[in-house]
């Protein structure tokens, strides 16, 4: 669908005339280096997919009830995943993970992108503190914040998108909302946890212009998976699982897992999706 170019060729495009003093975009996010985080980051997609497969029959039997019942579990899993494996907003990947590697902290580019309301100094103090409890609480806050934003903002947004793509508006409202909630938890929790409400990042998110990393890859995978999940719905196979929104959710879950794993491979990591062929864009700008 779209070509992918290496980051080096893209970073040049920030330079020209317009957009004065645009902040450099935050680099791709790494999974925390601790062994537990690394290991769990591979286990987590598998666990999600496994649970999904395990509950699939119940989902087909009564989608609304099952989706509703699964929601807290999914939320818990996602929150524990982001807390365990990802650096919270305002920190950098190295500092939040292992307190020992303090000296590397200075290197990353953007210490200027904390969570808006948060006090970076305060949190930084805590994260570098010795107490693991303090560290835990420092992560709990952004985790719950991301959970709240996900359910309040991302869910309605995704629900609207589902309807725009053709989901029924007059019926199946519970299915649509629940499907959106699941998709939001899959895609947005990580993004909000890692990036907060950093404007420059979200501008890149809306433009699908983030460099590929595990968080962004899984979010993108969720969306693409849901898109492809719509394909089997019209087929006349008369299978109960063809009912809305089962295939879409299945696609989203698979897309999440595939996206989060594939995006970490060196082939894709750090690259950006490119829309237009480079030369054509600049060539014929309006002359008047």
């Amino acid at each position: 669908m779209a070509s992918v170019t290496s980051p080096s060729s893209v970073n040049t495009q920030g330079s020209p005339t317009q957009a004065p003093a645009e902040k450099p975009s935050p680099p791709p996010i790494d999974i925390l280096p601790s062994q537990l985080a690394q290991a769990y980051s591979y286990v987590h997609p598998a666990v999600l997919l496994g649970l999904y497969a395990y509950r699939f029959e119940a989902l087909v039997a009564d989608p609304v009830r099952e989706l509703l019942a699964d929601l807290p579990w999914l939320a818990a899993l996602q929150i524990s995943f982001v807390m365990l494996c990802l650096p919270p907003a305002g920190s950098t990947s190295t500092e939040a993970g292992a307190g020992a590697e303090e000296e590397k902290k200075k290197a990353p580019k953007s210490p200027s992108g904390p969570l808006r309301h948060g006090k970076p100094g305060y949190r930084r103090k805590h994260s570098s503190g010795k107490s693991s409890w303090a560290c835990f609480f420092a992560k709990l806050m952004p985790a719950f914040l991301s959970f709240a934003l996900t359910s309040l903002l991302a869910t309605p947004l995704i629900a609207v998108l589902l309807v725009l793509f053709g989901a029924p508006l007059t019926t199946h409202n519970a299915e649509t909302i629940l499907c959106a909630a699941h998709m939001a938890l899959l895609s947005a929790t990580g993004l909000v946890y890692v990036h907060g409400v950093e404007a420059s990042v979200w501008k890149e998110v809306w433009g699908i212009a983030r460099p590929v990393d595990a968080v962004w890859g899984s979010a993108l995978g969720t969306g693409l998976g849901a898109w492809f999940g719509a394909i089997p719905i019209p087929l006349d196979w008369d299978r109960p699982w063809q009912a809305f929104p089962i295939t879409i959710l299945t696609g989203a879950y698979i897309g999440y897992a595939v996206g989060s794993l594939v995006s970490r491979t060196p082939l894709l990591y750090g690259k950006r999706i490119e829309f237009a062929p480079e030369q054509a864009e600049e060539e014929e700008k309006k002359t008047n």
């Binding site: 053709g166 809306w206 433009g207 019209p234 087929l235 829309f275 054509a280 014929e284």
Partner: protein
């Protein structure tokens, strides 16, 4: 956009440099000559690209022709006629049997009746005639139930006087095809389906011809289709045909039939006629106009009930009365396809002499549902022939109806055997003749059946002891033989001419390959190519045509001369075109999609094409198109977010969101096809069993009139182009036209609901006048305005001294000028686009008039979506880069709104009645054109808008600007514009041609598929017609229209 340009630079006024007079004049003359030359060049090149488009159109037509020729079923028409003297069997004993029992005369069999009154109630569905029996519990009786009880009552109360049976039509369920089946007894072939508008005489043996040659006096009353099928067969004095296509008129035909029928039934007139064919159209028209579930339908059926009772009252003993429907109607009252509701008609026979019987107690009552104990419609032919003592027509495949020959006690097995042996023998004779003519042998199984039946018959005729059982089994075997043959013929006549189909597909395929090369694989100005392209194409065509003729003359092929030369000419022209295109390889680029947009356009086209292989994706095409359009809108939003300029970003995101929402809103207008049930709810009409608009829907036209011109205006105002002719044309004329349209539909609603105490005729003539006014405004005044109006700009001249606050004049051309008189040109930024958009407005007005109220809302949304799309293209810099996405999304929009204007890819969704919006009678060629404008209105509008994908907000480029700014080779900028336009047009064609090729190939590949006639074949026909219509529209209107818009811009700004 405001442009403050120093004088002179825009080329409007003469230079003020202190030159000597002669030099100045010389320069002016030189400039004028130059600009005239450029204008001339533009006109020539413009004609050239129209020629190229014509060539593409002809290629498409040729491809579709060759495929269609092989694909649409054909059946050989045998000239043989049955005659009274020659019995269908060769043996003498058969003759002995038939003549021995004589007493009353008859040709092959003793006649039961002397005279017959055959009443056809068009579209009399079986469930209209039987008491309502709900299939599931919560189904309540509809308005069309239980209104014509006479048929059922008589059949139940006096079984020996009457019987009522479901009467299943062979699709296509159009009246002309049905009349053919009902008189010849053969199966229809698809090739005839299209001739419903102008019927042609039947030259096969048929019942009417048999009656006529036996010297009977035949009378025909009602539907005039009979006249075109059987010219000269009916008694000229007594026959009264009526125009059959005015479906708005429920009563004229029926009243006419009544007026002439009842006098003939009076005893004093009985000697004047032998058989009367009366054809009532009221029920059919009520269905077309209102749908079955309407009080008008109930009233009509009750009227028919009274008519039949009246006929019964004046019937004598020797006259047979037949009442039947020629087909049913679907839930909206339309027909033509092969859904259950469309094929299930009713047959009722009545005689005052009790001659009918039932062979079993189970069959005493008429079946509750049409699926039980039905008879095929062709069974009427042998039944009626033998009852009236006529020979069975030669081509007949039907069998005698049991009830008519079983005798009043239901056990006249010898009679049943006799009639079935006759019809079976005639079928065998026909099969033999057909097999000989085609050069093929008889079918083995049917031969075995026939032999067995003959054996049984022989033993039955020898030994009289075990008569009833052997006679019965012999009868059953003959019956089986007939039904078996019928099945064989059904399969046989689905015989496809595969080589011709392959030729058609090959033509379409190579046509697409060339179009890919031309539209996407050329680096240079396409207008430069035109001369060599056209001359090579011409040469190829000529050579091919000659080669075809030569091949036929020397007997290398058994194709018709014209076909052979057309085929070779098409291939020759493609070879020539290919050579002209690839002659200079340096002009070519690889035509692979590049960038996200190219890939997306490619993906949409290809995935949609693949989808047509599946019946599900064909059925749900409307939803899939919405999915694609939303995908495009989301991608557009994403892409807009990446734009660097804030204006582009904000505008782009805004229009992307608008685009997606408008599409979703439009998707609420739906007309479900049968296969979408029960997952779909129709909203296009008042209810799913109606074809009129709900009263609230009548508000839609007014809303459109109120809002749409304002929306268009806002898009003009965005570039300060709401100037000049735009104010008059969009603000006044367009709005006026839309208002008249809404008045028209208000009156239409008033007529349907009988709200006004006015005569129907008055209302009708007022409506016709209003509609013609709108069309005159759109096409008469609109075309005039389009040809002669100035661009949408306003020019004002300012003296700098009077306007000291004016910002420093931006320098367009980099040359510093003294502050002198400045010319302010408003609307400069979108001068090509706004001028061309008038054409869209004109067509939009006409298309909106031709839609039902719900469709008008949809078309208005289409206009808004097109405008949003154009803004998206502009803000994402896709206008000047010749991205394929614009034309392809327009293609998607056209297809999407086809479904949103109450259509589906099935024949029965054609809204024939819209031909009567601006006319009260059928007039050629206008009526078919109006139906096309209704059916393909969305695609037509999308095609008209195609040039806008490169014209919208296209910066003004004139010769002197370009030559001054870029020192490179000076080409005519207008030809660059033309090249872009033709590229966009051919990309649009490419999309539709790919869809057409896909539907064609799948229909050909799946030609034995169960769903061929329900799904694949209609979709193929739709794809082919859309391609043809859009090719013509692109050539004749869209691309041709660029001439005048560009000329008018050139007139102001120079060349």
């Amino acid at each position: 956009m405001v442009l403050k340009a120093p004088t002179g630079s825009a080329g409007t006024s003469g230079p003020k440099n202190p030159l000597t007079a002669t030099a100045k004049e010389k320069e002016i003359a030189l400039q004028e000559a130059k600009s005239q030359q450029l204008e001339q060049e533009f006109k020539t090149k413009h004609l050239g690209i129209l020629g190229v488009l014509l060539w593409v159109l002809l290629l498409h037509v040729a491809g579709i022709y060759f495929f269609t020729k092989g694909f649409l079923l054909t059946r050989m028409v045998l000239e043989n006629k049955s005659s009274c003297d020659i019995l269908p069997f060769d043996d003498v004993s058969g003759k002995a049997v038939s003549s021995s029992t004589g007493g009353k005369k008859g040709c092959w069999h003793d006649k039961t009746f002397d005279k017959a009154v055959v009443i056809i109630i068009d579209a009399l569905r079986y469930d209209f005639t039987v008491p309502f029996a709900s299939m599931d519990q919560d189904e309540a009786a509809h308005l069309f139930h239980d209104n014509i009880p006479v048929l059922y009552e008589t059949a139940v109360n006096n079984p020996s006087n009457a019987f009522l049976l479901p009467f299943i039509a062979d699709p296509p369920t159009t009246t002309l095809q049905r009349l053919k089946g009902l008189t010849t007894g053969t199966l229809p072939t698809f090739i005839d389906a299209g001739s419903n508008f102008a019927g042609t005489a039947i030259d096969e043996d048929n019942l009417v011809a048999q009656l006529h040659s036996a010297g009977k006096t035949l009378v025909q009353l009602g539907d005039d289709t009979w006249q075109s099928l059987f010219p000269g067969y009916f008694d000229a004095n007594l026959t009264h045909p009526y125009d059959s296509f005015n479906v708005w008129d429920l009563h004229t035909v029926d009243n006419g039939v009544n007026e002439h029928l009842f006098p003939l039934l009076q005893p004093e007139n009985k000697g004047k006629w032998d058989v009367i064919f009366g054809h009532y159209l009221g029920v059919d028209h009520a269905g077309h106009r209102y749908g079955p579930n309407h009080v008008a339908m109930a009233a009509k059926l009750q009227e028919m009930d009274r008519v039949i009772r009246k006929i019964i009252a004046s019937l004598d003993d020797d006259t047979l009365l037949v009442v039947m429907g020629d087909h049913g109607m679907d839930t909206k009252g339309d027909h033509g396809g092969e859904s259950d509701d469309e094929v299930q008609a009713a047959l009722w026979m009545y005689s005052k002499r009790g001659v009918f019987g039932r062979t079993s107690k189970d069959t005493l009552l008429p079946p509750k549902h049409a699926r039980e104990r039905f008879v095929p419609q062709i069974d009427l032919v042998p039944t009626l022939s033998l009852l009236l003592g006529m020979p069975i027509p030669f081509n007949n495949l039907g069998s005698p109806i049991e009830e008519a020959f079983a005798g009043s006690s239901g056990n006249d097995w010898s009679n049943l055997l006799a009639v079935n042996r006759l019809s079976a023998a005639q079928i065998k004779r026909y099969q033999h003749a057909y097999a000989t003519a085609r050069g093929a042998g008889d079918d083995e199984e049917s031969f075995a059946l026939w032999t067995a039946a003959e054996e049984e018959w022989k033993s039955a005729s020898k030994g009289f002891t075990s008569k009833s059982t052997t006679v019965r089994s012999s009868y059953q075997l003959y019956r089986k033989y007939q039904r078996h043959t019928l099945e064989i013929c059904r399969g046989l006549w689905a015989r496809f001419d595969v080589p011709s189909m392959i030729a058609g597909v090959a033509l379409l395929f190579f046509g697409i390959s060339l179009l890919v090369l031309y539209a996407r694989g050329m680096k240079i100005d396409r207008t430069e190519l035109t001369p060599s392209l056209l001359s090579f194409v011409g040469a190829g065509t000529g050579l091919g045509a000659v080669a075809g003729v030569v091949l036929v003359l020397f007997g290398f092929t058994d194709m018709a001369t014209i076909d052979a030369s057309a085929l070779l000419a098409a291939f020759g022209s493609m070879a020539g075109g290919l050579f002209a295109l690839v002659k200079k390889p340096e002009n070519l680029t690889l035509p692979i999609p590049n960038g996200m947009w190219g890939c997306l356009a490619f993906f949409f086209t290809v995935s949609q094409s693949l989808g047509y292989a599946s019946n599900s994706y064909t059925i749900w095409e409307d939803e899939i198109l919405l999915f694609f359009l939303t995908t495009f809108g989301v991608c557009a939003g994403i892409s807009s977010m990446r734009q660097k300029s804030t204006t582009d970003r904000v505008l782009g995101v805004y229009h992307s969101i608008l685009f997606v929402i408008l599409g979703r809103v439009a998707s609420f207008s739906r007309l479900c096809r049968e296969e979408q049930m029960p997952f779909c709810r129709s909203t296009y009409y008042a209810s799913s069993t109606s074809s009129i608009s709900a009263p609230w829907q009548l508000a839609i036209p007014f809303l459109v009139a109120l809002i749409l011109p304002g929306v268009v205006r806002s898009f003009y105002a965005g570039s300060k182009s709401y100037e000049g002719a735009a104010t008059l044309w969009i603000g006044f004329a367009f709005r006026l036209g839309l208002l008249i349209t809404s008045l028209f539909w208000m009156l239409e609603g008033a007529d349907d609901g009988e709200w006004l105490p006015l005569r129907k005729e008055t209302l009708k003539s007022v409506r016709v006048f209003l509609a013609q006014l709108v069309l005159a405004l759109a096409f008469g005044a609109g075309t005039g305005a389009y040809l002669y109006s100035k661009p949408c700009i306003s020019i004002s001249v300012n003296k700098p001294t009077e306007d000291p606050n004016a910002p420093p004049a931006p320098v367009i051309l980099g040359q510093q000028q003294q502050p002198r008189t400045t010319v302010t040109i408003l609307g400069f930024g979108n001068v090509y686009g706004t001028r061309f958009f008038f054409l869209v407005v004109n067509f939009a007005l006409a298309v909106i008039l031709m839609q039902k109220p719900m469709g008008q809302g949809a078309i208005a949304l289409l206009i808004c979506q097109i405008l949003s799309l154009l803004e998206i293209l502009d803000t994402n810099a896709l206008t000047l880069t010749n991205s394929p996405i614009g034309p392809v999304v327009l293609g998607l929009l056209g297809s999407f709104y086809f479904f949103k204007t109450g259509h589906q890819a099935v024949l029965s969704s054609i809204q024939w009645e819209t031909a009567f919006i601006p006319m009260s009678t059928i007039k050629y060629p206008w009526s078919p054109l109006l139906v096309i404008l209704n059916t393909f209105g969305a695609q037509i509008l999308a095609a008209i808008a195609v040039p806008l994908t490169v014209l919208w907000k296209r910066p003004l480029q004139t010769h002197d600007r370009v030559s001054q700014s870029s020192s490179t080779k000076v080409a005519n900028p207008a030809s660059r514009l033309l090249s872009d336009v033709v590229q966009a047009a051919s990309t649009h064609m490419l999309y539709l041609a790919t869809i057409n090729l896909a539907t064609t190939m799948w229909a050909g590949h799946l030609r034995r598929h169960l769903m061929l006639y329900r799904i694949f074949s209609p979709r193929f026909m739709m794809g082919a017609v859309v391609l043809g219509v859009v090719d013509v529209v692109l050539m004749l209107f869209a691309v041709a229209g660029v001439r005048w818009s560009t000329l008018s811009v050139g007139e102001i700004f120079g060349w």
